[in-house]
Symmetry: C2
Subunit: 304 residues, 2 copies
């Protein structure tokens, strides 16, 4: 059972969610209102495992940093949201040197703090020596202003343009396991600027973690719309072919849909139109200048 299928089935049993859950699981973050208050809270959790998300035997700082960056990317994908705090639960294989554990936590703590999310809790558990070093991070966030809507996955509308920030593909070197995925800047500043400048014209948004085609597929399905992705418009990292770029994961760029005009650049990051929301089938159609292409809309569900 793959992660999406499993978690969808688990969450489908959540029939009795209280009214305080404004945004149920299944988006980049869930949202709650606090009882007896108008305050709302966003929350998400994501792990990083050595050997799966970072190369085996590297600096454990990279693992801690990546776990936090992945969560910050989820905050960015909500548009109108700022990070508040993080918690980290580490699984430490027996016999791991203290210095490595320390580096892991420094990666977590410093990265959180650098982006406005101090480390405020968590635990460590020693596991068998053959287990992987891993850390599960939870991030708390809050809307920046209460008037602007959150950019959920389910808000795309027919007629919207479809956009992506930066470039996609090649974030992970298949030979070395190194690459942008270890130290990408989460797109918080661009997300805020989009939310501010587009306001209610910013509709759906998602971070590109499983591959552009598959992540747009999540938006199409959640919004019950078709998305036409124009292959020739996809902004590519150096040396990458588009067929690979849209299937690779770990770009941690933002893909979004919006109505009306969208700036070509915000906060120093290029924004490129890559398609259109054009029907209500819940699917992604990949086209190029010659028309429809029969590429599978699969992505990369690494280690999950």
């Amino acid at each position: 059972m793959r992660e999406f299928e499993l978690l969808s089935r688990v969450y489908a049993l959540n029939q009795t969610l209280p009214a305080s859950v404004m945004l149920p699981p299944g988006d980049d973050m869930a949202a709650l209102t606090l009882p007896r208050h108008a305050a709302s809270l966003l929350v998400a959790a994501d792990s990083a495992v050595e050997g799966t998300h970072t190369p085996l035997g590297g600096d454990a700082y990279d693992l801690g940093r990546k776990a936090v960056l992945r969560n910050l990317s989820d905050v960015a994908a909500m548009g109108n949201a700022q990070p508040l705090a993080i918690l980290a639960c580490a699984m430490i294989p027996e016999g791991t040197e203290d210095a490595r554990i320390w580096r892991l936590f420094e990666g977590v703590r410093e990265t959180g703090l650098a982006w406005g999310a101090p480390l405020i809790g968590g635990d460590t558990t020693v596991v068998g020596a053959r287990s992987a070093l891993s850390v599960a991070v939870t991030i708390l966030a809050t809307p920046i202003d209460q008037q602007t809507p959150l950019a959920t996955r389910s808000s795309a509308r027919i007629g919207d343009g479809v956009y992506v920030t930066g470039v996609v593909g090649g974030a992970w070197d298949p030979q070395t396991g190194l690459g942008r995925h270890l130290h990408f800047p989460p797109r918080l500043a661009v997300a805020h600027a989009l939310s501010q400048s587009l306001g209610v014209r910013l509709h759906a948004m998602i971070d590109v973690s499983d591959g552009l085609a598959q992540d747009l597929g999540h938006v199409a399905k959640s919004s019950a719309v078709d998305i036409e992705l124009v292959l020739s418009q996809v902004p590519l990292a150096n040396g990458v072919v588009v067929e690979d770029a849209i299937r690779h994961g770990e770009d941690y760029e933002l893909a979004f849909t919006a109505s009306g005009a969208v700036p070509l650049m915000l906060e120093g990051v290029a924004i490129t139109r890559i398609g259109t929301v054009c029907g209500s089938g819940g699917e992604v159609r990949i086209v190029d200048v010659c028309g429809a292409r029969d590429l599978p809309v699969t992505g990369w569900e690494h280690g999950s």
Copy 2:
């Protein structure tokens, strides 16, 4: 490096915590106020690992349930707090059958829901086949009323009585790994009743997870007080000797300090006075009817 030492050193670097962090890491939960709101939020995270926290090869439901129960016990230990929601990050060894993963998540989801904390997020990651099955759970909670203080570890005062709920010892059968620790009722109802009936007379509180002596040691240190623990007063589970009972962990009862009279029973759970807060040295002194006893105040830091 043991868990307490490691995390204390990590958190000590948190010099730049924003003012919104009302209660920094180091207590049962951390507390935040949300920007531009008076609302406050409590948050904690704790893991459960098969083979460490539950017997190897058992029903994975027990692992999921225990991870959530441990977190609910942290909410109880704050006194004036109610659970809001949980998130769960599972590490799944390669080759684990779908049915086991499903049982794990059902243990998480059903336990959370039963105690008012729906599962609203998380992820799964496949890890190497030799890794342990584990789940890291984060719990969100909120004060029940804004007027009553939280029962932190650092609130004990000289002259307070020291109390424990229920009985201690024997929660974990050393032969089978089974026992109360797998299905204990988190002491939320007693905690609320204490908070309501004692009000500001309820001072410090902690849940007994590392062993009564060691957990009282956390209170003594955080509050900079001495705690005299009277061995003969400790309420024991059947067949347990007191020297073991105060060192065993996983009782998940509440230990607390309070001034004035305290009920002998609340919500059907016995409450026993076991000592007195009597100095400012930051230590636990174990005494019996014959005076001071030279027992080490060590506890059980299993798997951490």
